[in-house]
């Protein structure tokens, strides 16, 4: 809470339409102590009483990757040593993207208690969800180690590009979470739409099938934002840098997306609490 808080009813014409949204974004991200604490708390809360804790996520991802890798490599006549790492890196990255997009739908509704009592930037609740998902993601990333050892994968300096790639993916998911979160709070069936969209995207995006399997399918990948997001992380881990196109697409998405997020927050923040 601020020292002096002035709450004005929304004006019919705003001179700077995104001003309050930008303020929300900046203040929300700056309060990292609160959202990181709340995010950690979610993880503790969920796994405190289980023996393996969040490593259940690691185990289930491992089983999924191995089974799909073995079956699909046969299906697409791919060499397992190439295909299994491909499917693993793709699924791990997709897990973060899909998980955050889906959880974004309920992020404000879950925090209704806090929102109705303490005035905080709405961005904090998106960051809480993103941070929690990132911790979960780190639990699946460890799978890279046994896969790399088993299939004798070679890492070089170029592999490190996966780190800025992942950071950009995280940054991208923040605006996605804010935009989707506001829409899903206002229109409750938006959640169903997102779930269906994600399910379809998982099969349309080259994650479980190699891009080369359908020679004419190049455009399916190029027009698919999920493909470019995944490539930023997957390509360097598999020993080739992501194409410049993927970097450009994701950077442009971020620029446009943060503009959208600021607009969504500006429009929604005078009303969002009444939608909960």
């Amino acid at each position: 809470m601020t020292q002096a808080a002035v709450h004005q009813a929304p004006q019919p014409i705003l001179h700077r339409p995104s001003a309050s949204g930008v303020r929300d974004l900046v203040a929300g991200m700056a309060n990292w102590r609160l959202w990181s604490m709340l995010g950690w708390n979610d993880i503790y809360q969920r796994y405190r009483r289980s023996a393996f804790g969040p490593f259940w996520i690691t185990i289930s991802m491992a089983i999924f990757v191995v089974l799909l890798g073995v079956i699909y490599s046969k299906l697409f006549h791919q060499e397992l040593a190439v295909f299994l790492p491909y499917i693993a890196m793709g699924l791990i990255t997709w897990g973060f993207i899909a998980g955050t997009t889906k959880d974004a739908c309920s992020q404000f509704i879950e925090n209704a208690g806090i929102i109705r009592q303490i005035r905080l930037p709405y961005t904090i609740y998106a960051m809480r969800m993103i941070w929690r998902s990132f911790i979960v993601f780190l639990h699946t990333v460890v799978l890279i180690v046994p896969i790399a050892i088993f299939f004798h994968m070679e890492f070089g300096w170029g592999t490190l590009l996966a780190i800025p790639g992942m950071l950009l993916v995280v940054l991208n998911q923040v605006w996605v979470a804010i935009v989707i979160g506001t829409l899903a709070t206002r229109f409750r069936d938006f959640t169903e739409l997102v779930a269906t969209g994600l399910q379809i995207s998982m099969f349309v995006t080259p994650i479980m099938w190699p891009l080369g399997a359908i020679p004419d399918a190049r455009f399916i990948a190029d027009i698919n934002p999920f493909y470019h997001l995944i490539e930023l992380v997957r390509a360097p881990l598999l020993g080739s840098a992501a194409e410049p196109l993927s970097w450009i697409v994701v950077l442009v998405m971020c620029v446009v997306g943060y503009g959208l997020a600021a607009m969504a927050l500006t429009r929604a923040s005078p009303r969002l609490v009444y939608w909960l």
């Binding site: 809470m1 020292q3 709450h7 009813a9 708390n41 069936d189 739409l193 939608w275």
Partner: protein
Amino acid sequence: MASISLSSASVEIPVFAVGNNSLKTALLRKAVGGKFGQVGTNLIINALNDVSIEVRDGERVGLIGQNGAGKTTLLRVLAGVYPPTSGSVQVVGRVSPMFDISLGMSPDATGIENIRVCGALWGLSRAEVDAGIDDIFEFTELGDYLKIPVRTYSAGMLLRLSFAIATLRQPEILLLDEIIGVGDASFMAKAKARLEKIVSRAQILVVSSHSDSIIRDLCEKVIWLDKGSVAAFGAVEDVLAAYNASV
């Protein structure tokens, strides 16, 4: 200097009937020429109607009215969580809205962990939380219980802890939705003393209550809310007399 100023503030809460907050309805409305995002056929509750009040530094204000008169809504407006749908609200000062004191408690976390998370939620810095832990140990008398998950606590113990955390920070403006009753009789006295200390140090107090004696004890002015509007705002005895006559 803390101050509160409302000028013709109103709060209209849309009640989305089943299916009304769906995308389909919104799109259909658009198709027939309605305005996207407009409330359209939804029911609207006028929770607060054209409320203008000035509360100056040092004032202690009581809030009375029947259930549903808008007491909690007004407190939420003062807390900054309900932006008025028309009119304006200006609140200057550090606000503590004590509506639900157990806010942010997670049952599987230990007492200490809950102190850290809830403390951060109440706006305390890390240093302030660290400094307050000893105080909470002493005040709650929970001892080693603070090191185990709060789900093992009795209702009274849980209330002690949440009360201690919520009152750790000295606010400039204190908002209370009904006075909090805390646990057994011996602890009650201790809690009352702690609350009174905070109340006396706060520059502005706004407290809603159904009890005339609490209002007489704590306040020198009273706002009587009726169906979302201010029916009377003035000295305690005058407003209480008018209110009791009307009920």
